[in-house]
């Protein structure tokens, strides 16, 4: 037991030291992140309260809907926990740099395994906790249950997290055992991404919004059966939902002791089974994961051809950097596989527009279509920012510990940063125009709106990409284990905030002039000279904001990178 605590202690001490010993800027960061996190939780709580009150007010089926929503929330969290546990277990149990030291210590394999499962449980469940607690508290606020509900909330969710975590760890152990050692990491990461893509597409294509529209179903029986679809009595989420719902409906939990015992006994069994399997599989798998990595580079000729074409117009130094980036991107399975996520995102994005019930709206169709097209610029901008947070923001940090090569080369950092900018701006521009033009065609907007939104999003791309490179250079992280961790840090968060503000400013500046021009077209009236002045000034200001979003972050990023030590 002592050894187990000692193995967990470094993580606790590391966290404590990070909190207490961080310098002024570090503390500020913690405060900002904490404040924003609290605001985010408050937002989820208020939103959930509103949704629950609305659902509660639906006659006859209000409570049924709320019960079903609880099941769906629990099932979603459970699935996320399993997927997240698979990924974090891989890192904590097999890939962490300190594992060599742990395995060389005079402690049993089981102790190391259990200590790492504690890490995995903490790493995989904290995000779900942030999203989940406000939702469950909203249920408590709206239904006013007995205080014992909050106790159940705590221990039942913990039991559910333990079950999900151990399922994830078990899957990881089996995969590491089955697949060839050199490919284990890549295969697991690829499978995880494919699972997320499949879950995402499945969830969206099921069209959950139809559940709040009973007219979409032919019969009441069909509707009720659709409501019950994801709930199976064999799932731990069902037992948790039964317990919590019983207490929300006024019970004190005694009626659901069976579900509670079932949940906890399953959690306990999961722990015992995993430790039993770990005795046989874990060390064998760890040893395999330490073996030599892949030796041969696949598809080198095709890659050479692509790189040759892509870098032909560039000078040798930039061509070298961009060629290297392309090679690393396509050879690293953790990087290119994220294009699958991107593809799923684009498919769902377009699908959402194709199923919009525009004809049922009480607003005039042409007005609604163009209004949606206008707002779509903001939405598309936000989607592009999310993509840039993953690929563009991390572009500088992607050099990793090999950044010294760039620093000692006779390539100026200014050229280096602008080279990265050029590399990303073209594909992002193509994607932006594709999203905008495709959705505009689905919405059947006017030619004026088509031109305006294409030009606006095109110009915004230059700013979104520059913000990504600039903020990424301002907050680089070269000592990461996995590049996707960089995007989820403080800098990535800040980039999303600044980029959203930029998009919001452009949209607000264009909203007034677009409304005037559109309404003049609809009414057949003439735009007055004063209105023209307003239109010119607004569009001019939008252009100025775009220009500032390109040059300002690049300058800040360059200055910061020049002083980086």
């Amino acid at each position: 037991m002592q050894a187990l605590f000692e193995l967990i202690r470094p993580r606790v001490l590391g966290l404590k030291n990070r909190m207490t010993r961080s310098a002024g800027s570090g503390r500020k960061r913690i405060l900002i992140m904490g404040g924003l996190g609290a605001a985010f939780c408050a937002g989820i709580f208020l939103g959930s309260c509103r949704v629950l009150r609305y659902i509660q007010s639906v006659e006859m089926i209000g409570d049924l809907l709320a019960r079903q929503l609880l099941s769906m929330v629990l099932l979603t969290f459970f699935s996320l926990l399993v997927v997240s546990s698979i990924i974090t277990a891989l890192s904590n149990l097999y890939l962490s740099k300190d594992l060599e030291l742990c395995h060389a210590m005079p402690v049993s394999v089981e102790t190391i395994f259990i200590s790492r499962t504690v890490y995995t449980l903490a790493d995989s469940s904290w995000m779900v906790l942030i999203f989940g607690v406000p939702v469950f508290l909203a249920y408590g606020y709206v239904y006013r249950p007995d205080p014992v509900f909050y106790l159940s909330l705590l221990h039942m969710n913990l039991a559910m997290a333990v079950i999900a975590c151990f399922i994830g760890i078990f899957v990881t152990m089996v995969l590491v055992h089955v697949f060839p050692a050199q490919r284990t990491r890549d295969i697991i990461l690829l499978l995880s991404i494919l699972m997320v893509v499949a879950l995402y597409l499945l969830f969206r294509l099921l069209r959950p919004e139809r559940l709040v529209n009973p007219e979409a179903f032919f019969t009441v029986a069909q509707y009720v059966s659709a409501l019950k679809a994801p709930d199976s009595p064999y799932l731990p989420t069902h037992w948790v939902a039964e317990t919590l719902w019983g207490q929300l409906m006024g019970g004190d939990g005694r009626g659901h002791w069976f579900d509670m015992v079932l949940t906890w006994s399953t959690a306990g069994s999961a722990v015992v089974i995993n430790v039993w399997f770990a005795r046989r599989l874990y060390f064998q798998g760890f040893s395999k994961s330490q073996e030599a990595k892949k030796r041969r580079a696949g598809g080198a000729r095709l890659l050479d051809l692509v790189i040759g074409c892509a870098t032909r117009p560039l000078r040798k130094d930039l061509a070298a950097v961009i060629g290297k980036d392309l090679r690393v991107f396509f050879r690293d399975n953790t990087q290119w596989s994220q294009l699958l996520l991107l593809g799923a995102l684009v498919v769902v994005y377009l699908y959402n527009f194709s199923v919009l019930p525009l004809d049922k709206s009480p607003i005039r169709l042409d007005f609604l279509q163009n209004q949606l097209a206008f707002l779509n610029m903001g939405l598309a901008g936000f989607v592009l920012s999310a993509i840039c947070a993953r690929f563009v923001f991390t572009a500088v940090s992607a050099e990793g510990e090999a950044y010294w090569i760039i620093r000692t080369a006779p390539l100026t950092l200014k050229r280096y940063l602008w080279g990265k900018y050029l590399f990303f701006v073209v594909p992002i521009l193509v994607l932006a125009e594709f999203l905008t033009i495709a959705t505009n065609r689905l919405l059947e907007v006017t030619p004026f709106m088509m031109v305006l939104s294409s030009v606006t999003i095109g110009l915004m791309v230059f700013g979104i990409v520059a913000l990504g490179i600039g903020v990424g250079a301002r907050y680089p992280r070269f000592n990461h284990e996995n590049i996707s961790q960089v995007a989820t840090g403080f800098g990535g968060f800040l980039y999303m905030v600044v980029s959203s503000l930029f998009i919001g400013m452009v949209i607000i500046l264009e909203a007034g002039p677009v409304y005037i021009l559109f309404m003049a077209g609809v009414r057949g009236s003439v735009v007055s000279p004063l209105e023209w002045l307003y239109i010119i000034l607004s569009f001019g200001a939008a252009l100025a904001v775009n220009a500032a979003a390109v040059f300002w972050p690049m300058r800040i990023g360059l200055k910061s990178l020049q002083g980086y030590e």
Binding site: K294, A297, K316, A320, V321, A402, R407, A409
Partner: protein
């Protein structure tokens, strides 16, 4: 060829390099010695352009690093103590990447030079393998190939023998001597006094960020008043300063 003038580096309250003055003439081989935390790696990183000095100047091949960093970097080859590289490139691709950064044309001459270097460092049969499959010593040898690919006038080396087997170490020592005979200036930091004496004709000892002694091994022996091993000379000199403080 290399001039460090009043070079200073401060990390908050700690002065890692303290008004350091040092000159290395063209074609000379200088070993930069010092105890742990003396400021060797900080000095070398400033010379390579990885760290910015708090004060002072670095002049290499007639160019001031602060004024013309690209011109300085064009003429130096840097070999760091830890060979971090792009693991998803093959050895040959990495050399082409570095050559590109230095603006070298992809000529048959360059190709031949790369082949020669890979052969010299016994990496020829590994050139098309991903770097992630290389051992530490192989990575160290590849970094050396990369540092030499553009035929630098100055070689700045931090702990060159880490991870090398005896054969590799012998190869590197011979190579450094050969490079110096062709006019390349060598600035090498090392913990190994044996390597310092074997490879270099001049030695500078740094402690607490300051040069406490410099000259040929014989001059250092005289300075320490010991006519024995360089190890004893080093210990005496660093101990004296450790007690009395830097001079």
């Amino acid at each position: 060829m290399i001039q460090l003038i009043n070079l200073t580096k401060q990390y908050r309250q700690i002065t890692a390099v303290d008004h350091l003055h040092l000159t290395v003439r063209k074609g000379a081989r200088l070993a930069f010695l010092g105890p742990n935390g003396a400021g060797k790696t900080t000095t070398i990183k400033m010379m390579a352009g990885v760290l910015r000095p708090t004060a002072g100047r670095i002049i290499i091949n007639g160019h001031d690093l602060a004024v013309s960093p690209a011109a300085v970097k064009q003429c130096i080859g840097f070999i760091p103590d830890r060979p971090y590289m792009y693991e998803k490139l093959t050895g040959l691709e990495f050399l082409h990447f570095v050559a590109g950064l230095y603006g070298l044309d992809r000529t048959s001459l360059l190709q031949r030079r790369m082949e020669e270097l890979l052969s010299l460092f016994e990496l020829e049969q590994w050139k098309d393998e991903l770097i992630e499959s290389y051992s530490h010593g192989m990575k160290q040898r590849l970094v050396m190939c990369a540092a030499l690919v553009h035929q630098p006038k100055v070689l700045i080396v931090d702990e060159p023998m880490v991870g090398l087997d005896p054969k590799g170490a012998r190869l590197v020592k011979d190579l450094f001597r050969e490079q110096a005979s062709k006019g390349t200036t060598l600035f090498m930091s090392t913990h190994s006094l044996e390597v310092a004496e074997e490879v270099c004709e001049e030695i500078a000892i740094i402690q607490a960020g300051r040069i406490i002694a410099s000259g040929t091994p014989e001059e250092l022996r005289k300075q320490a008043g010991i006519d024995g091993k360089l190890e004893d000379v080093f210990l005496r000199l660093t101990q004296e300063v450790g007690i009395a403080g830097p001079v």
